[in-house]
């Protein structure tokens, strides 16, 4: 039974099964040694210890003994059934042994020397009965209250812890925190291997539970204060430190849900697993954009977890119906989970834990927080920043595409808080209200988008009953116009264009007429010319004929004068004959 000292070169660890604790302690509590868990009343010591036993019995095949000095086993069984631990069942299966030690000072008279061998015997017999590997003593300090001879109790406790070590059981001893010491009676003096402090503090009316490993002999451990959560799933601790920057990335894209917005991102949308922030003042359409993105994810058959800090799930479903999004069907199908809480409901760490828990349960591909700026209600800006860093790292590890909205103050385009988280954000969309000519319009542009060739243009962002639409703003004449100004400008342009066209047509017609007139003229001239030509020809013919006649008459004259008719004599003879 005596533990060999030399085989503990590498400290053996006993996994607790408590979510997060085994990561912090790099494997669990020191195997075969007692651990002190201390904290104020109501900080979760008993739950911590009980979970340690239950997980040991159920997951790691290590039965455990729970020795309670305060609550009765019946009360404990009642308390833990709500967390899903059936102590009676576990007892009957021989996985857990409960022993209630009750000491009432008023019922006990002390005379002379005694020891606490009875406790050892009880514990020993319980350990032997179920071959226990784990032991919980909750809260052994009750011995100090029950017995007046503190010297004996101290000596016996020292012996008890040695004895536990010798039995090789991994033990948790709980202790109430004291004023100056960690525990009221200084138990830490005896339990030197591992001390865990549970803390329950309230700051600005918001309670946060924290756990800190004060010491862990022979092992490295996370030294921070880790927030933890107690809920219906039991105890869960969140490693507060960031997970680092070595997450896998993908080249796959997912749509934003708005085709024209996709177009602003080189036609592809966001990278899967990237972090998107949509900033804008009130009423610029952040929630609509987020809901459209969520809707698009559900259309692809992916799961989307939507955290709303402003509206209730049914209100979101109703309101998004007005822009043509039927989120209700995705909720029914189980693809969309809307989770609404007030940010001031609990501390930031609690929110982070809730995120973690729900993400683990639901395993979404898309995660929306609307809006993150409300988280500042639960903590300072730097705390929000730290929470978001951890959340984003966690989401990136799981390749979940995160979409955050951020409410900025009116008129200031970039809020302080936004700037702080800017470095965490891969894609930053800015929604702006553009006020001009007595109306307010929405503009959208991409401030940055890592690794995507994105548009540098401001687009007008329209919420229609068919969903979100983006319209190219009017950018002519050196100014940007939106809304009715854009419409008016466009109308004006249209009319100017129309007038231009009309004028051009008119001129064309005129010219045509001119051409026609010209052609008519040409035809007339040509006709005249032809007429003239004909005349000329006629005159020429006449002249030629006359010439011929003159010639003939001149010849005839000549013949007549010379008596030698030049005319063929036959003809003449004939003539003469005829005449004769």
């Amino acid at each position: 039974m005596v533990k060999k000292k030399h085989d503990s070169v590498v400290l053996a660890k006993c996994p607790t099964g408590i979510k997060g604790l085994d990561e912090i302690t790099r494997g669990g509590l020191p195997q075969g040694r007692p651990t002190l868990v201390c904290g104020s009343a109501g900080c979760g010591k008993t739950l911590f210890a009980m979970e340690f036993l239950m997980h040991g019995a159920m997951q790691f095949g290590e039965p455990g003994v729970f020795m309670t000095f305060e609550e009765t086993p019946e009360d404990l069984a009642k308390n833990f059934i709500s967390l899903g631990f059936d102590i009676h069942d576990m007892e009957s299966r021989g996985l857990i042994a409960m022993d209630h030690v009750r000491i009432e000072r008023s019922e006990v008279e002390e005379t002379g020397d005694y020891d606490l061998e009875g406790l050892f015997i009880r514990l020993g017999s319980a350990i032997d009965a179920i071959q226990a590997k784990r032991v919980v003593l909750d809260t052994i300090e009750a011995l100090f209250a029950g017995l007046s001879n503190a010297a004996i109790v101290r000596a016996e406790l020292r012996r008890l812890f040695h004895w536990l070590k010798a039995r090789g059981v991994t033990a948790i001893i709980t202790g109430e925190s004291g004023d100056k010491l960690l525990t009221r009676y200084g138990l830490e003096e005896y339990v030197a291997d591992c001390v865990i402090l549970l803390d329950f503090r309230i700051k600005e009316q918001i309670a946060t539970r924290r756990l800190r490993i004060i010491k862990y002999r022979g092992s490295s451990h996370g030294a921070d204060e880790y927030p933890f959560l107690i809920d219906e799933g039991g105890f869960s601790i969140l490693p507060i430190t960031s997970l680092g920057l070595d997450y896998p990335v993908t080249n796959k894209h997912i749509t934003t849900g708005v085709p024209k917005l996709d177009a602003m991102f080189d036609g592809k949308g966001f990278y899967r697993g990237s972090t998107v922030l949509a900033s804008g003042s009130a009423g610029t359409g952040k929630t609509s954009l987020a809901a459209t993105f969520a809707d698009a994810a559900c259309r692809r058959g992916e799961r989307c977890l939507y955290f709303a800090f402003e509206e209730s799930p049914s209100q979101i479903v109703r309101n998004m119906g007005s822009i043509g999004l039927d989120l209700g069907r995705w909720v029914k199908k189980g693809l969309l989970r809307l989770h609404s809480t007030r940010p001031s409901l609990y501390g930031l760490e609690m929110h982070l834990l809730t995120f973690h828990k729900l993400i683990e349960q639901f395993d979404p591909q898309v995660f929306v927080i609307d809006p993150i700026s409300n988280l500042t209600a639960a903590g300072t800006a730097s705390e929000v920043n730290s929470i978001l860093t951890r959340l984003i790292d966690y989401l990136k590890m799981r390749q979940i595409c995160a979409f955050f909205t951020d409410l900025t103050h009116l008129q200031s385009s970039l809020d302080g808080a936004s700037e702080e988280i800017s470095s965490l954000i891969d894609t930053w969309i800015l929604l702006r209200a553009i006020e001009r000519n007595g109306e307010r319009n929405r503009g959208i542009y991409v401030l940055k988008s890592r690794g995507i060739d994105h548009s540098n243009q401001i687009q007008e962002f329209m919420l229609t009953n068919q969903g979100i639409d983006l319209i190219d703003v009017y950018t002519g004449l050196g100014e940007v116009l939106t809304g009715s100004a854009r419409v008016a400008q466009e109308a004006e342009e249209r009319s100017t264009e129309l007038a231009c066209r009309h004028e051009a047509e008119h001129r064309l017609r005129e010219q045509e007429l001119k051409r026609q007139a010209l052609e008519a003229k040409i035809a007339a001239l040509r006709a005249a010319f032809e007429e003239e030509t004909k005349e000329v020809h006629l005159i020429a013919e006449e002249k030629r004929k006359r010439q011929a006649v003159q010639t003939e008459s001149r010849l005839a004259m000549g013949r007549f004068r010379e008596g030698k008719p030049s005319e063929p004599p036959a003809k003449r003879a004939k003539k003469r004959l005829k005449g004769a």
Binding site: D99, V101, R102, I103, E107, V108, E109, E110, T111, G112, D113, Y114, D115, L116, E117, G118, L119, I121, R122, G124, S125, L143, G146, L147
Partner: protein, 130 residues
């Protein structure tokens, strides 16, 4: 006093007609404390409750499961089962005065302890070291 090896003598009773005083002494083996406690108890009973008491010695080393029933933590523990209510005295019973107070013998009996009936037989727990 010496631990008798009386076989199954876990229960050792006085043979008096009615055991008005039912006492149980829890011990863990034959330690010096157990021996002292039993001797002290025997002496007190003989002096004050002769013939009206029974002492049951329970050795928890032998029967560890019995420790739960009477909520035994410290050893030795004397438990007054009868008369009711149950009273507990821990320690080696060295302080007779406190034992008498603790057992309520003073007030309950008054001066009625002069009945001296013989036949108080006692057999302590079997030797656990065997």
């Amino acid at each position: 006093m010496k631990a008798g090896a009386t076989g199954k003598g876990k229960k050792a009773k006085t043979d008096a007609k009615e055991q008005a005083w039912n006492l149980r002494l829890y011990v863990a083996g034959q330690t010096q404390k157990s021996i002292t406690a039993f001797a002290n108890l025997k002496k007190i009973c003989e002096e004050h409750l002769a013939g009206e008491y029974s002492i049951e010695v329970i050795d928890l080393v032998k029967n560890p499961q019995l420790a739960k029933g009477d909520q035994i933590i410290a050893l030795p523990t004397l438990v007054r089962k009868l008369p009711e209510p149950i009273k507990k005295i821990i320690g080696d019973l060295a302080n007779t005065e406190r034992v008498l107070v603790g057992l309520d013998i003073r007030s309950a009996r008054g001066g009625a302890s002069q009945k001296l009936e013989a036949g108080t037989d006692f057999a302590p727990a079997p030797n656990p070291m065997r």
